[in-house]
Amino acid sequence: MLILSRRKDETIIIDDKIEISIVDIKGDQVKLGINAPRSVKIYRKEVYLEIEKENAAAARSSDALASLGDLFKK
């Protein structure tokens, strides 16, 4: 992993088109400003992990289909 040190208001540029700036630093929280083309998708990593986790749970529950009919009648 590439590690760079940056101070508040400093920026890095990725691939000539994605700009990430340090907007603010408070305690252990860093506020990032991101300028990128619309086609670049930006999400918190937790979102990916959460969807992965939910997919895994869904894959385990496909056997439960037989009980779904009953659930609906309640």
Partner: protein, 140 residues
């Protein structure tokens, strides 16, 4: 979509199941569910539901990149389906993932699991609770 088995290609795979790209989509024996079965990993299948069944207001926002992968958007050729998770037990939970819907292009039969950026849509929507609250809203 009709009753036939549709072969669906998901080039990027589903999150956590990236290597698997070929699936069969069929109606499940229980309405209103569908089944997405992997054609490469026999034991793998997902229960799906049309989100509009319990959230008539569901409109996922899709990026241009998402659409690039599944083919050109034309009028009424895109379908959103949500993956259902059932957690059995004394108080069984049946939730649908509206944050990561599977978007299918009906013309190309190519799909992608997209991520919506609208925080309103989460990974665990309680299907029965939302049906009840929607019915409540209608009778007001």
């Amino acid at each position: 979509m009709d009753n036939d088995v549709k072969q669906i290609s998901i080039p990027s795979g589903l999150y956590g199941f990236e290597g698997l790209t070929k699936f069969a989509l069929t109606r499940a024996s229980q309405e209103p569910f569908l089944l997405l079965k992997s054609l490469e990993e026999e034991s793998l299948s997902f229960i799906l539901i049309d989100p509009l069944y319990f959230r008539p207001d569901y409109t996922p926002d899709l990026s241009d990149e998402d659409l690039k992968e599944i083919g050109e958007e034309k009028e009424n050729n895109l379908y959103a389906l949500a993956i259902v998770t059932v957690r059995p037990g004394e108080d069984p939970q049946m939730t649908a993932n509206l944050q990561g819907p599977i978007i299918i292009n009906g013309d190309t039969l190519t799909a992608r699991q997209c991520i919506t950026s609208n925080p309103k849509w989460q990974t665990r929507h309680d299907i029965l609770a939302e049906i009840r609250s929607h019915q409540g809203a209608e009778s007001c």
